[in-house]
Each structure stands twice: as C-alpha cells, then as structure tokens.
Amino acid sequence: MIAPMGLLALVSFPSASAAEIDAAGFFESDFRLRLEDVPAGAWHSPAGVNKGFERFDNTIGGRVSAFSGDWTVTVEGEIRARAQPSAQSLPELSSRQGVETLQWRLDEATLELWDAGIDGFDLKIGHQVVQWGVGDQFNPTNTLNAENLEDPTKFGEQLPNTMIRGDYALSPMWTLSGVFVPIFQPAALPESASIGMAFVDRMPVLENDVRRDLQAKLQLGDELGYPTILHNTEVQMPRPTLGNASGMVRLGGAIGMTDVALSWYTGRTDMPVAVSNHTTLRNSPTCHPERTTDCIKGYLLTDADLAFPRMHVGGLNAAGELSALGGLGWRVEAALVLPQRTTIAITNEDLDMGGVVQPAGELDYGLSGERPEVVSSQPYAKWTVGLDYTIGPAVYVNAQWAHGMADEFGAGDFLQPDYVTRSGGADWEMRRLRQGDYLVLGADISLGRMVLRLFSITDLTGYVLEERGANSGDVSTSRFSPFSKRGFSGVVYPELMFDLGDGLDLSIGTVQLLGQTHTKFGDPAAGGDIAFTKANYTF
C-alpha cells in the first residue's frame, strides 16, 4: 500500500534532478573491551561471557535528501563491518558472508509532502523514527518506535519503522499530529540479553502462591538431579493485520513560555512477556569435569512463548524554565499506561524424576480455573522529571528522576506496590518493585577542545527479601535500601571526547555496571563492564 503511494507521489512531482540535493556522511570506528568475566548459569549450562574483545565495529553511513518546493525524499543508512566472523560450520567458511560479517541498516527512507492537499498539512511516509518526549533518553510517552537496546552506549536510541505521519499546523505554535504504524516491531535487545535465560528463578507470575509453588518445584528438580534450563524461546509476533496496527495522536504547542503536548497511543509494548511455558525431561547423566561427585541425571527443558501485550498510553509533556532560579530548565514527561491483562499457561510432558512423577498436562494453579497473570490490567504511571543548568561557560549539568525504565512493563511502584522476582529459591525470593525509580545525573565539562562527559544512573528502588517459614508458610520480609550492599545498583559512564577539528572526534570511556547479580545493573544480562574508544569522522 505504501510503496504504490510513494511511487504515485514521486511520479506526480518534478524529477529529482531538479531538486536540491543535500548529503552528509560519517565513518565510525568502535573498539570495546569487556573488562571482566561475567559468569552466569550453573556448571552444566553456562551462559556467561568472558572478558576480552567485546566488539570492534567499523561503520560507514550517510544521509541524502532531495528537496523540492513541496517535497523531500530522504535516505539514511549505514554498513557495519563486525570483526567477529559469524561462521559456525565448515560450509560457512566457504562463504564470504560467513567469514566477513557485514550488517546493513536503513535508518530512514521517507517521502515528505509539504502542504499535502491542505495548507498546513504535511505528510511523511516511510521508514522513520518519530522522536517525541521532552525527557533526555528516558521517554515514557515516546512509544511509537521500538527501543534499540543493542548498544548500552547509545541508550535511548530507537529503531526506525514503517509509518505514515501527518502533521497539521493549527497555528504557528500548535500542531496536531497523527502517526499510523501498520506493522508491529519489537525492541532490539542487547547481545548479552540471552544470558538472562540462565535465570529461570525470575518467575514472572504475579500470584504469590503459584509463583512460590513454582520456585519450590524448581528447587525440587535441582535436588533430584534435574535442574531446569530455559531451552528455547519462541516469539509470537503479532500478525500484520489492521487490528494489530498501532498509532498515536498528539497535540503540541506552547502556553506562554512553556512547551506543552498531550498524546494518546494505542498499540503494544515492545518488550516481550512470557505467555506459555512447556517443560520436558531429558535424561542426560553428566558430572562436573573436576568435582566428580557433583553430577546431574538430566534436565528439565523449558520452552517459553513470548508475546507483546497491547497497551494504551496517555502522555503529557511540558518543558520550560524557572526565571527565579536563573533560568533553570525543567521538563516533565508523564505517561499513564493501560496494559492488557496477560496470563501464562504452564504445561509439561510426563516428568519422571527417579520416581517423583509430574503427570503430563497443565499445572493446577488453584485459581478456580483461571491461569496466573504475568501482567495485570491495573493502570500505572511512568514519568521523567528533569532539571538542567549551566554553570559558567564550561559546565552543563543535568538531573532526572526517571520512574520506570523502557524494559519495565506492568503495575507496581511505590504508589501501588507490586513486585517482580529477581532471584529465588524454595523458600525465599529477592524482589523489587516492578517500576523502579532512578536518579540520572549528567554533566558536560568543557576543557577547551576536550569535553568530559559524566553520566550516572542510581537505582533508588531498593530490594525486598521474602522468606517463608518451613512449616508455617508465614512470610517475613527484609528490606534493603538502595544504599545497602544488597540493594545498591547503578551505572557510571564517564567519557572524554576530543575534537581534533575538521570533523574528526575521538573519545575514550568506560561503562561500569554496579551491583549484585540480582540487581538491575549488576545483572549479568546487562553485559558487564566495558571500556571503549571511538573515532568518528563526519563529512
């Protein structure tokens, strides 16, 4: 549908040779080291990564736009050469693609029509990113494009998707916008996200009794010599139908010295949620290569289906300044999320663990025939409140309170507590509010031709240890503050950037992830600490 429209529009206008052409390009070399081993998983099913070269990518890219009086065509893309060969077999070594890893990315391919039929109405069709939201990198109302979490140093980046965007200027200051996204796109996760598959104790089930029973079963399997491992995951992508399309309307403008925008999104979360879990048993006696008495009889293999629940998001954005405080800049981005209630089906084949038998079928949840929830329909809020200020000619500081991160979906925060399990055992669970609170601090310090950028995130949420009595079943809780050893988690990301002139920049930095393995940033799935150097030339 879109391609014929685009072609029709192109043939209706003068040829591009009459248009003004604008082009820009870049080269980037990105070398990273992982500074320490990131262990995860048990000895029989290791999932961690070792220290060493994390990546050595060399990328060229560019943007070309053709402008005419009433339209613009823009193409932006890049080719990335990755140092790591992808070949995994002898035949793949015979293919250049298997030895030399090249990745193509199309960041934009759009046709824009100005005053399209109606004066003041603009249309933009094609592969694009729509960036709304006044928060810096934390944009809970900016839900049109999926998150690109592939690279932690480019946090906040979004993936382009095919969209139709219309903007109508109600006045010079006020614009009514609408975006239609025909095909759903999920978030791109970091390469280290697969490490998270090792943490099967992170049960997503909301009902306490069901979840604790599952933790006990997990522990029982371990004790019987049948540890559970996440064997396979399958993603249920929404079918490309009109019913699965998403969209947003937005009214934005200014009231006095304050920018204001209201928005409404209907679509799906881009973060996957487990909706089914099927377990089989594989007998495979194995012993630890060194500790010969440390043996297992086999595995409980779990296959999980992941889906993307629907959601509606009402958004409010406002930004301005406080004159009484020297022009201190402020911004508020708030989202009210109405998620779709989502349940999980937990089934298994016959599981005979040396005489302890779990017959095939679906688990009896004890919920009067209902399946347990993984996402409730309870509405919840996310927000970012930010301040920024300039001290003298050389220092810029920025502080934000982010309530809820991009990967946190579902109700549960300090206003209406509900928790997510970060680790667990037969009679205990380490848990945390589903929507965390984060203090984000940043500063740019200009040092002549160098800029020192300091960035940090501190998890202010805290953690809760729930322990159950062996016989009574009573649950006792211990709370760990965000500044305690078991409750602390954070990111420190300093970067020193050198402007060598004529478009050449060099930078050196590190991303340090702090906290124990059950915490947000100490999680091995976050990928561990890295050091990096980047060279960037623009032309």
Binding site: D122, Q131, A169, G326, G327, W330, Y389, P393, G501
Partner: protein, 243 residues
Amino acid sequence: MFFRTTLLLLSMSTAAIADEGSAHLAAVDKQANAPTDTWFKFSATTQEAGKAPRVMGFEVQNKGTKRLVKFDAPSDMKGTRVLVLSRQQMWVYLPAYKKVRRVASHVKQQGFMGTMYSDEDMSTTHYSDAYDASTASEDEASITLSLKPKPGAQSGYAGLEMVLRRDLMLPSEIRFFNATGQHIKTETRPEYDCAESVCTPKIMKMIDHTRGDAFTVLEAKERRVNQGVSDGLFSVRNLERGR
C-alpha cells in the same frame, strides 16, 4: 532656591538626555529592522589562543523578532537548526537525536554554537525592548549610548555602551559590561552593506575579553531582503522539518 533650581535643571537635563538616548535607540531598532525580512549566508570564524580557527557556515532568516538559523558547516554541525521567536523563546533541532528542544535561558550566556556570541546576543533584535538608553557622549560622526537593562528584563549584561554611526544610525561598536562593571566583550561592525536602501552589517567581530580576547568574525557572504517570507516559516514544526 538656587540649589532647588539647579537640581531641577539637572534633573530636567538628565531626563532630556535619557529621552534623547531612548529616541536614538528606537532609531537604531527602526533602522536595523527596516526590512520586512532578511536572509543571510554567514561564515563564522572563531579563534581562541593556541587553537586552530574553527569555521562554521550557516544561513539566517529574520523577520521582526523571529529568526531561523540553519547550519551547513562544519560537518558535525550540519543539519543543526535554531528557532528564535523572542529573547525568551528559543528552540534547537539536533539532527543526531532527530529532536526539537527548548533552550532555557541559563544557557543563553554560553557561546552560541561555540562562538563568542551568546545565545542572548543572537536573539536580541530590538534593543529598546530590553534596555533603557541614555546618551553618554556624541561628536560629529558618532553617538555613544549607555544602555541599562529595563526593570524585569532578563539580561546577562549589567550594561552596554553602543557607539552609533550618525550617517546610518546603526552601531559600529557595542561594549558589554558585567555586574561588577568589568568590560567583558566588544562587538565591532566595521562595514555595512547598503544595497537597495537597506543597510545590514557586512562584517561583525565579537571579542571576549574574559577568554584572552578570543574572537568570532561573522561575515555575510550573501544577503536577501524583503522576500515576503510568511510567519509560518518561524514555527517549531518548520524547525523540525528543516525546510
């Protein structure tokens, strides 16, 4: 009686100087904003001690207090755009983030895109709106005005001295002072382009005395006046699309 008369005469004289200064400043604003709209293609060269010169290229479209700036050089700034609707209303479009952001006034004393011009310098189009003026001195060729911020006006400067060319009633030099009276910056406008009965600065040089006399020279390479551009050009929507 003598003293009262003297004081009365003195105060009348001071008021007259202030009124005259205000009239001169109003004349400057009228002259500077005589065209309905203007468009310039600028080259900006910034030179700081011990560093290589940094050259930028940008286009500026002006209409009244409104201004739209588009950068095309250096390559790392290409595509950056700035919209100024008034001294308090300024937005920037950053192509790397594909995002429009309001510029709070705390950054307006920082160099505009790394130049010696502050955002405030770049956004001031009508001095009379922000400053009260009195005549400090005058001779056959020039008039020197002393400018003080109006009560309630947000200004990064405690005062300005503006030297006007009598022939054009436009500034040839502006000296900027901070709250302690220190002379911190000087802008000179040695050459005007007066084609089509409209005079606009051909070259402007801003020297920052607090940074070892680092300076930025703005040279107007091309200009157009009275093109009849619409107000709709100066909108956040237009800033984002970069048309």
